[in-house]
Symmetry: C2
Subunit: 337 residues, 2 copies
């Protein structure tokens, strides 16, 4: 009941002429370079990721197992000019992966070709079928959820960095993706904000299933309890995840909710308190291990000062996972404590 | 962007042989008798609502404008035996309304007949298209939301009773339906738990749009913040509704969440506190006007004692809208205060 994406990838750029339309391709190259074998572009494309330009058969021979549509166009649909190249990919042995609004199977030639060659058409914006209503039942194993004072400030990066750090310590851990980029990076997951409302908690439950007692699922948060548009997604995800540990993510200087100037972001203390009060409904032992503070807008010295000041104020580990360092190690230790 | 259902109704019973499969028909007869012109059943049906048995043309002549499929069968699909009678309804001028899982238009004969005669096929389980992401913007007019310590304990009935009481006092008020039965009763609404997660708050916003300053929308709550399966729906609905007033619904003796024995229902004081803390995120002036206490399991004397005891404890109006009386009037006054 999770989306599965065969890796590694060939990145399809189509006829893209502006880098901002190729966000998915650039994101994957930056976040998961080890998963990107090369790029495939039409002769009219003027943008490149800098990866090797490969024909579909070459990419397959070098190990690629899926071609990812790494571009968005205005309508969110497959452009007719792309079809021959994508058909060649299917013929060469690659599954086809898309985060566009319209489903891949709506294109007849793509659908028929995939059927003929036994290839999968994977729409990572479409939740898998069969998601149940949440049961509220306690599951074995440990779970960490990254949460935020707002959207788009580092919940995914923090979850990825913590998973990596856990593994480096020999801890059995899985990153659990809840959004498109996370699903492409980890190769599986559920796009939680595309699930029907009644099933949010149920989707969170199957995303982090029962596991051995020492295993950690590190779940990518979505939205924010404090975001008037997305708080329902955030609460359903938290209640279904039943996290033992939350890590609160914030960006220095983010004083208003993104795009909603009327709404202030909460203080970190208030955000911790509200998250724990709600999290304890489904896990009485939920605790906050610390803060992931996005300091990317600051100089090194200012960042260290900001981190130290919050640390003193909250008496919790406060680290920027992008800067790493000993304080990030302390945050990792606090999560596992 | 709301579902609209032409009223009044002819209730279709199909070939039903057990009353429990005709819950929707009985519910409508009990909740909204003034909307039910009659019933239509196949000769094999052995269940009756007691309403006049009418042919579709007779029902139309008496004012009916929709035929409501008032029964459920195992698969949640249209039975082939029902089709001729439903086609006759469409021919007679009635729109066709269903709360089944499969959509009406999936049946070719129904689809073609509806097209030919210009009738609407209304799936009240399917959200209307075009629901936006919530904007968080403040809207004019007043809003009341019924909330609960659990599911299925009186949120819909309370909202209906309050709307009726508001109107009796000359207050301009609309009941806003968020579930199937509510939509059939009021003739419009959005099935909020069937909306895609990202759009819950947006759906709540368009359900209670900007209105004159003295107008009240009385919004039917769904789920419960304390229900591990449905809390996301409840929070999104509350943040999108931006209620000025909440009325907390509870059932005497409901000590565990329905179907989830591991979860206790909260105390009324705790429930009021958490709801207001979260509601104030989108409406700083949100307040709790009082408690709607479902005492249907108690004798008259025990009910009065239970209401009085909670009233003293909480120092708020506490009433059972089914029993009415002066304390319900006090709850109504407190809502409008």
């Amino acid at each position: 009941m999770m989306i599965k994406v065969p890796q590694p990838y060939l990145l399809f750029l189509g006829d893209v002429a502006e880098a901002r339309y190729a966000k998915t391709a650039f994101g994957l190259r930056d976040w998961a370079p080890q998963l990107c074998i090369g790029e495939l572009a039409l002769p009219t494309a003027t943008v490149t990721t800098g990866l090797p330009r490969l024909k579909p058969a070459q990419a397959f021979a070098r190990g690629a197992r899926s071609v990812v549509i790494g571009i968005a166009n205005r309508g969110g649909v497959l452009a007719p000019e792309w079809i021959p190249a994508l058909v060649e990919c299917l013929e060469a042995g690659l599954d086809l992966v898309s985060g566009m609004h319209t489903r891949l199977a709506q294109d007849a030639e793509i659908r028929v070709t995939a059927q003929r060659y036994g290839r999968a058409l994977i729409d990572i914006r479409t939740p898998p079928p069969g998601i149940p209503i949440g049961s509220g039942e306690k599951r074995s194993g440990k779970r960490l959820l990254t949460v935020g004072t707002d959207c788009s400030l580092g919940k995914k990066y923090t979850a990825l960095a913590l998973t990596r750090a856990f593994k480096r310590k020999g801890v059995d851990a899985d990153f659990r993706a809840t959004g498109q980029t996370g699903i492409l990076i980890s190769g599986s997951g559920i796009p939680i904000d595309a699930v029907v409302a009644d099933f949010i908690a149920g989707a969170a439950e199957i995303l982090s299933p029962a596991a051995p007692a020492s295993h950690w699922d590190v779940v990518e948060g979505q939205g924010s309890l404090f975001h008037p548009s997305y708080s329902g997604v955030s609460l359903g995800l938290m209640h279904g995840t039943q996290p033992d540990v939350i890590v609160l993510c914030h960006e220095v200087g983010r004083e208003r909710i993104l795009g909603l100037e009327d709404y202030a972001t909460p203080s970190l203390a208030e955000a911790i308190d509200l998250h724990l009060r709600l999290a304890r409904r489904t896990n009485a032992n939920a605790r906050c291990a610390g803060i992931s503070l996005n300091t990317s807008g600051l100089s090194d010295a200012d960042a260290q000062a900001a981190l130290a000041s919050q640390r003193e104020w909250l008496r919790l580990p406060v680290a920027d996972p992008i800067r790493g360092g000993p304080e990030f190690e302390r945050l990792v230790e606090a999560c596992l404590a």
